[in-house]
Amino acid sequence: MRQDLFQEFEAVSAKQWKQKIQFDLKGEDYNETLIFKSRDGIDVKPFYSAEDITETPWVHSPKNWEICGKIYVASAEKSNQNALESLKKGAESLWFMIPSEKTDIKTLLENIPLEKTPIYLGFEFLSEEFIQKIKQFLAGKKHKLRLQFDIVGNLARTGNWYQNLNQDHKNLSEIVAGAKDFLSVLSVDASLYQNAGATIPQELAYALAHANEVLNHFDTSSVSLADFEMQFLTASGSNYFFEIAKLRALRLLYASLASEYKLPESCHILAQPTKRDKTLYDYNVNLLRTTGQSMSAILGGANAVYNMPYDSIYHKNNEFGDRIARNQLLVLKYEGYFDKVSNAADGAYYLESLTLQFAEKALEIFKEIEQGGGFLKQLKEGIIQQKISESARKEQGQFDNGELLLVGTNKYQNPEDRMKNKLELYPFLKMNPRKTLIVPILEGRLSEKLEQRRIEKE
């Protein structure tokens, strides 16, 4: 092999490159034509080079990522069958959403190889008693169970505590006290902020401030510190590289915060695609969106990725949708070799620059929230909701005026597309007016209004 390959060419400095661009622009303005001003407050430059990297923060990247199957537990028996089927077809971990305290945990987890299958349990209720049942079931068994308790997340999403402020916190303390039986018991649902329209720095800051509420609540000296692990549930949006950087920034931010509490610095990230840009019309584009968004999640260093079916907004759960969604991840893992290297993003000029910028911007917002009395206080005052609405309104405006495009929906429509008779589920935001303690944060898709008008015209 020739050792002097490429020696006839000289290195190019950022300055020389910019000069060449200015020459190529033939008089057009550099900033005007080439700087992309994103809604996330970052100006993207036409090129990044080694000169953009001053220091690269150390971002922990998990060795591998799991393909996660998500199952809503309407019936323990059926869900158990679904779970076993899903594992057979390539899922590596399972995420059960449990709506009822009556669910029989033994039936649900029957025959699932607990010692090697990471399992996440999310709940629509808060019950110390239910946890005792799980513990009894697990007694003497090796397992990889994580519970997802998130009282602040529940408040933000529903507007109410499970019971009330004191009882919720009391339950939380008990859960945390018994945490040693599980890999982890606490989660922060950051996907809510993303799906409601927050910008990336907001989402990161809220996730961190949300986590800080929890960390603040209990006396960290009482917890077994060595294996404390916080889970973050995230949603990956449409901006491919921003979303990779987002997860890296989240790890950096959490590590910085955790070290203040002398807690382990790594967190566990369970990622899924956003709902925000999913569309009813030309629904196959959703397959493309979820492919790109899953790639972002993997390359950003998620521990587990769940992929939503392309038809989840209008079809009931079905075998085809589930299978293709899982296969997208299998294809990435096995055929695309997305499981071979765990830190593809490290060193990339653009991504390293974005990661640091996001982390810095989020840290600033985080400090403002803390200054204002903390996340919970600002939620109660409606400040967080207001900030998210502002961002969401701005994004909606961009969609409405065609600055933000969804293929097949506000551009490149297929005029023959008909959806009216295909709806098994109501695909729009349901308004069920209910008395709430605080204003709940609502998730919303960008294309809802447009789709409603289109359906009416069918």
Binding site: Q16, V44, F47, W58, N216, L288, G292, V331, D346
Partner: protein
């Protein structure tokens, strides 16, 4: 409890980055023989020389244009899947209306071989896997009402390049579009040509003469026309790994450059008229690395010719997502595959892109599958913001390490070809063929041994496959239609004019005087058929027996 004051919280500083136990873990060896390590660090690229190259400046590591896609995105170029000119035309028009910027023409086997549809024994192949074109009238039907001055037309041509190019020019002319307004490319499948598949017509030397006449004609008369595109796609589709595809495609390009110079062409007007055509497979980062390495290697190879204009060193590329990687089994899995591959092509900096439809492994795409394929590009272009910065993965320890390694591997293979006296000589000795076949066998063995898993094929299989309904070609009816049109043309044309034009072509071939493209255009105007034009040259050149 007292709330913790976090106003002084700062981001964690980098911990001294020891290589975290990565040596303890096993690497995964790719089909190229490049190990993929679980973790990469600065250490892995400490002796790479290429890291500080830019875009728009030789050796063009980060792209041929200084701003990548920030000013102009890549061109969507799709092949339409219909076998008759009229059906294809309707499909082109729909696709252009739906956001496509260029069309790509693929022809059936008889057309490639220079045979008219009424020739004995070819009827079974008429309209199969491509368009049947017999005369300028077919080309006119194919292109009617398309804004030829505004879109880019690419044609995959091997044997019958002269008549088809002539038909294209005349069809445009009769639509009122002058040659200087036409933009597009001729795609050359060097694998077929150099490996002696059955689509070439003439022996190597006259084939080169035709090519240099095309260069001469297009550089004088068709400044927008990008010239010749050399295909690595077909090498990858034959089962070759990325390093082999890269090396042999560039070596083929180098051969064209030499032949062009021998034919008296001037380097700086000629080199920019060559471009490349990559197949993009599933090894995402390897493909990105391949495209980046390709630009540096091409610039290095051409620098020896002492160009007057440094732009002559820039490699421009068209890409197509792999058909090899698609499966008939559970075909909707192909949507994700194509999306991952298309993203790699874009991160690698392609100038235009064809995304393969999910059923192309089985048949010609339907309107439904073509829409998803096209939307794959529109999604990447419009929704992901990946066009905002050039070569966005640059600096990644992993990607830069791959870029360095694949460049070195390919350079080794190019060296081997050069030692044998260049691509044509090497092909005669059979070395490239052996290397490609070996690589294909290795790739298959990796799947058979489950080293490589293909979802739905050797693992995660469906219990029961639901067949997709492929687009059927009623080829008997098609052949009859073509033959009827040929008869009409032959009845209506001025026979004397035709034979004069054809005679001029034969004479020019004999005496090596006059430009064959210009003469083929005259013949096309007179309504000489594809078979007649091909035969007029075959009289002198003979037919390649390979």
């Amino acid at each position: 409890m007292q709330r913790k004051n976090l106003q002084q919280l700062s981001l964690k500083k980098p911990v001294s980055q020891s290589i975290r136990g990565q040596q303890l873990e096993r690497s995964f060896l790719t089909a190229e023989g490049i190990p993929l390590k679980p973790l990469y660090s600065r250490e892995d690229i400490k002796d790479a020389r290429h890291l500080n190259f830019a875009a728009g400046i030789p050796p063009y590591l980060r792209g041929p244009l200084s701003t990548g896609y920030a000013l102009r995105s890549w061109t969507l170029q799709q092949t339409a899947g219909f076998s008759t000119a009229a059906q294809s035309n309707a499909s082109y028009r729909r696709n252009l209306a739906a956001g496509q910027k260029g069309v790509s023409l693929t022809f059936d086997l008889p057309t490639h071989q220079g045979y008219d549809s009424d020739r004995q024994g070819v009827d079974k192949d008429v309209g199969k896997a491509g368009l049947a074109i017999d005369s300028v009238e077919d080309m006119k039907l194919l292109l009617q009402q398309l804004p030829l001055g505004k879109i880019s037309v690419s044609m995959t041509l091997s044997g019958a390049v002269l008549p088809l190019l002539a038909f294209f020019i005349v069809a445009a002319e009769e639509q009122g579009v002058k040659p200087e307004q036409l933009s597009g490319t001729i795609q050359k499948d060097i694998l077929k040509e150099l490996m002696g598949c059955n689509t070439s017509i003439y022996p190597p030397t006259p084939s080169m003469k035709i090519l240099s006449d095309i260069f001469e004609f297009t550089s004088k008369n068709m400044p927008q026309f990008k010239g010749i595109r050399i295909s690595g796609y077909h090498i990858q589709e034959a089962g070759a790994s990325c390093d082999i595809e890269l090396a042999y495609t560039l070596a083929g390009g180098l051969e064209y450059i030499r032949k062009g110079l021998e034919a008296g062409m001037e380097f700086d007007s000629f080199a920019p008229r060559l471009s490349f055509f990559w197949g993009i497979g599933m090894n995402h980062f390897m493909e990105i690395a391949k495209m980046r390495a390709a630009r540096m290697l091409w610039a290095t190879l051409l620098k020896r010719f002492n160009p007057k204009n440094e732009n002559s060193l820039a490699l421009r590329a068209h890409s197509q997502t792999s058909g090899w990687s698609l499966t008939q089994q559970d075909p909707f899995n192909n949507v994700a595959r194509t999306c991952i591959e298309a993203a790699a092509a874009v991160f690698g900096g392609t100038q235009s892109l064809h995304t393969t439809a999910l059923d192309e492994a089985i048949a010609l795409p339907t309107d439904f599958s073509a829409r998803i394929a096209r939307n794959t590009q529109l999604y990447l272009q419009e929704e992901t913001k990946i066009t905002k910065t050039v070569d966005p993965w640059a600096g990644s320890y992993y990607l830069e390490s791959l870029t360095k390694q694949i460049a070195e591997k390919a350079w080794g293979l190019i060296d081997e070809i050069e030692d044998l006296g260049g691509m044509t000589k090497a092909m005669e000795g059979g070395i490239p063929k052996v290397r490609i076949e070996q690589a294909a066998a290795v790739k298959q063995a990796r799947i058979d041994r489950d080293t490589d898993i293909i979802v739905g094929k050797n693992k995660f299989r469906l219990e029961k496959e639901e067949p997709l309904v492929p687009l059927e070609v009623d080829n008997q009816c098609l052949a009859t239609q073509q033959i009827r049109l040929l008869q009409r043309i032959k009845a209506e044309r001025n026979t004397e004019k035709v034979s004069t034009a054809l005679h001029a072509l034969t004479q020019a071939a004999k005496n090596s005087q006059g430009n064959l493209v210009a003469l083929a255009i005259d013949a096309a105007r007179a309504r000489a058929t594809l078979g007649e034009i091909s035969d007029a040259l075959e009289e002198v050149f003979g037919r390649d027996k390979a």
